[in-house]
């Protein structure tokens, strides 16, 4: 039997082209393996082979979505794959959404099995877990060694059309698909067993976990902007020059609150970004590009807004856990309320 033909998608970083300063490169295709494909190829033994690798910069992909989708799909199609693999993207948000988008596209357009791999908090997971098999990985490339065998195993099964077991057995992220199966005990008995365990305070596993939607309904609009106190918040990591509180460039464990009383403009001498997840050149040159203090001051002077709140809040959204981000904002939102802030502009890179 001939080997299963695989096309692999990775970003500029894993291709060894460069970091954030190269995130704007357009898609390109190379024959054979590049970067993590090497380990995947090895794990396939002789059953499958990566025939081509498509590489695209994360920023390019997300900023030119429709164009990038067309270009990437064309490159993949040319190599006639039997199977498509994207990533692993770990906890890189833009990479994860790109992997998910391409994998879904290939599945829909080329009708072949596809596979991605990410950390459960990657935004690409929530966007695509219903459509795709996404192998669960750790949150950084350090988890590559564990990710590769799980990916290779599931990929081969998909390519060969074998039956796919439960998420726990196969190591992919639950897609919310219900499967019928036969059990020895009937439903009423199982329900009573669970109830008894719950009453005793013992652990039990539900057979049907409730989805966690947690949407927050929008607040009413601001009635009179000319009287409103508006605050600026950012996940783009803008901090006073020197990053006095040492906010981490990635996986932030804290946020900063900075006084901008009397600050009319953020300059290269006074402010910079601590964010390690995008090319910092433009923000360091002029931090207003991320946190628009200059424009807000103009609007304040002209009476378009009542006032700009004297503090801004900031953290780096790069690989920062959802739990931390939630905790930060829950804390400073109370301060914003106490300070009588009427509206917030939150900027993200």
């Amino acid at each position: 039997m001939s080997k299963i033909r695989v096309v692999h998608y990775i970003n500029q970083f894993f291709a060894g082209i460069g970091g954030e300063e190269k995130a704007d490169i357009p898609p390109e295709v190379r024959d054979g393996v590049v970067g993590p494909g090497m380990a995947l190829n090895k794990a396939f033994k002789d059953e499958a082979e990566i025939v081509a690798t498509v590489i695209c910069g994360d920023s390019y992909f997300n900023e030119n979505l429709e164009k990038a989708k067309d270009e990437v799909l064309k490159m993949i199609k040319e190599h006639n794959p039997d199977l498509f693999i994207a990533g692993p993207a770990f906890n890189a948000g833009r990479y994860g959404t790109a992997c998910g988008t391409v994998a879904k596209l290939v599945k829909d357009e080329l009708n072949i099995p596809v596979l991605a791999a990410m950390y459960p908090e990657n935004p690409g997971v929530d966007m695509y877990k219903k459509d795709l098999y996404i192998v669960e990985t750790g949150n950084s490339a350090a988890a590559m060694r564990k990710a590769v065998p799980a990916m290779a195993k599931l990929a081969l099964k998909l390519a060969k059309g074998e039956e796919i077991g439960s998420p726990a057995e196969e190591g992919y992220i639950a897609r919310g698909v219900r499967v019928n199966l036969f059990l020895d005990k009937r439903g009423s008995e199982r329900a009573v067993d669970m109830m008894v365990k719950k009453l005793k305070g013992e652990d039990f596993t539900t057979e049907y976990p409730m989805p966690d939607f947690d949407n927050v309904p929008p607040n009413p609009a601001v009635k009179d902007m000319s009287k409103a106190k508006v605050a600026l918040v950012t996940s783009g990591g803008i901090v006073p020059k020197g990053n006095p509180d040492h906010i981490e460039s990635s996986s932030a464990s804290k946020y900063g609150k900075y006084d901008i009383d009397g600050v009319m403009d953020l300059t290269a001498e006074t402010y910079e970004t601590a964010h390690g997840g995008y090319d910092p050149v433009y923000a360091n040159e002029n931090a207003d590009r991320v946190l628009p203090v200059d424009v807000m001051r103009d609007l304040e002077k002209e009476g378009v807004i009542g006032e700009l709140h004297r503090y801004f809040y900031t953290t780096t959204g790069n690989g920062t856990s959802v739990a931390n981000a939630k905790k930060f904002a829950a804390e400073f939102a109370q301060e914003l309320v106490a300070d009588g802030v009427d509206a917030v502009i939150l900027t993200s890179t």
Binding site: E20, A23, S59, N62, E63, G93, R94, T97, P123, D126, M127, D214, V216, P217, P218, N219, P220, A221, V222, K223, M225, V230, V233, S235, G236, Y278, D279, P280, Y282, A283, E285, N286, D288, R289, V290, L291, P292, D294, V295, M296, D298, L299, V304, A325, K326, F328, A329, A330, A333, Q334, L336, V337, D342, A343, V344, I345, L346, T347, S348, T349
Partner: protein
Amino acid sequence: MVKEIERAGIPVVHVCTVVPISLTVGANRIVPAIAIPHPLGNPQLDEKEEKKLRRKLVEKALKALQTEVDGQTVFED
């Protein structure tokens, strides 16, 4: 963070480049930005033009804050 601010009762607008992420995160008022490393700027423009562009985006954000919405809304041009 957007969700926690909204939960606290303050209307919030998310100005961001990757709109699908903002939708996933649960922002209700979304204004698409310019580019990831400079969401509210464009280094290719001269300083005056760039500030004008930034002002337009901020004005759009303020307009979003003054608009009643039922659910997640992306404020395109």
